[in-house]
């Protein structure tokens, strides 16, 4: 193409000149966006509301965020660097994710802004179709990159929050409770895999030490199934607790699990078991030397 005679030096076909003209076009574009900031920002906020995006936020909040996004957007267009925008997108996501804002809403508002700005460019350059085309050629790749940056930032932040919550749930799913001095209860609910069994044991052993526990009741009423691996882990947990000086009582073995354990031949001879959690706590209190009496037997008669 460059050898096509008179067009050879045209700004559109010479890569060097084209880059320069792209920069010049972007400068012109940025100036336009700055000049019409108030009006374009309002138009954008209006369209966000009309499209029923960000419904979890008030109109004032939408307007405030729209202003920040707009300014960051223009800045990214101007400088061609995305770090500031990226940081802002992450920060924005952190604030709006807990309020239930969805991925499609974030992508939606950025695309709306792209459209609002594109329309304003149509309005400004509609008489010079050639110029409009060149402006759009400069604008579109940058706008797409911005939309991409914001969307990716949002999704990454969402994933980070999900990972954090999973961690918290895992911690929560093995709560070691102190019901009275020297007595711990560990109710296990759900599915136990080797990793969780391991974590659970480590947590329990640490709790025995910090709470100076003498008796631990492990309640497995909420455990649906148990294979030989998990059963052996349970036996190990009981043995390790004893090495620290604590007695373990296991409660809530379902008939199915009891049958499984006997069938696969897990050695439970060393394990104290009691039918249900209440019975387990009573047994634990007996071991600790407590005696639970109804109040009228304790209160001296008047």
């Amino acid at each position: 193409m460059a050898t096509k005679g008179k067009d050879a030096q045209s700004p559109l076909t010479d890569p060097q000149a084209q880059t320069e003209s792209t920069a010049a076009l972007l400068r012109e574009l940025v100036a336009h966006l700055r000049q019409n900031r108030t009006q374009l920002r309002e138009e954008w906020a209006r369209r966000i509301t009309r499209a029923q995006l960000l419904t979890a936020m008030t109109e004032e909040e939408i307007f405030a965020e729209a202003t920040s996004v707009y300014d960051n957007y223009v800045e990214a267009l101007e400088t061609g660097t995305f770090e500031a925008l990226q940081a802002y997108a992450r920060n924005l996501s952190e604030r709006i994710i807990p309020r239930g804002v969805e991925t499609h809403e974030v992508v939606g508002i950025v695309l709306l802004l792209r459209d609002v700005l594109a329309r304003s460019l149509f309005g400004k350059y509609h008489e010079d179709f050639d110029k409009l085309n060149r402006i759009l050629d400069a604008y579109e790749p940058a706008a797409n990159r911005i939309a991409n940056t914001v969307a990716v930032g949002f999704v990454q932040e969402r994933e980070r929050i999900i990972r954090q919550q999973q961690e918290a749930i895992r911690e929560l799913s093995t709560p070691v409770l102190q019901v009275r001095e020297r007595l711990l209860i560990l109710p296990i609910i759900g599915v136990i895999d080797p990793q969780r069994a391991r974590q659970l044991t480590e947590q329990l052993l640490r709790a025995i030490r910090t709470n100076r526990a003498k008796v631990v009741v492990i309640d497995i009423t909420g455990v649906a199934a148990m294979d030989s691996n998990v059963a052996n882990h349970l036996v190990q947990t009981v043995e390790a607790s004893r090495l620290l000086g604590a007695t373990v009582i296991v409660t809530g073995l379902s008939p199915e699990i009891a049958q499984t354990l006997v069938t696969i031949g897990v050695d439970l001879s060393e394990m104290a078991t009691v039918g249900d959690l209440q019975g387990g706590i009573e047994e634990a209190e007996r071991l600790l030397g407590y005696k639970v009496l109804p109040l009228e037997e304790v209160t001296p008669k008047a």
Partner: protein, 131 residues
Amino acid sequence: MEVPILKQGHYLIASIQSALTDADLSHLREALIERVGRFRARGVIVDVTALDVMDSFAVRTLRDIAHMARLRGAETVIVGIQPEVAFAMVQLGLTLKGVSTALDLEEGLAFLNMQTQVRIERGGPGRIDRG
């Protein structure tokens, strides 16, 4: 590394201060058993709080101490096993079966007091197994 053995009333307390070699452990076993006889001890406490690992030799030595002391009329309690150490022990298959354990020195003393009390009440030496 010599393990200091303190005599306190009817009890002997061996508190391990640092990592021990197999020879150190064997020496501890001999010293304790000799002293159980010499001081007519009723109880032995081995404090292993300072041990950051216990392998089969250490566990076997502790078990031997408990069994030999019992034959000579003293009850043994191992105190201060760390959570990580306990977990590694059970994975190795080392559970100190038939040997009493307690959280720390204070608990160990309370346990021995209770055990000797029971023995005196029952009138004579008895075997009390835990776990």
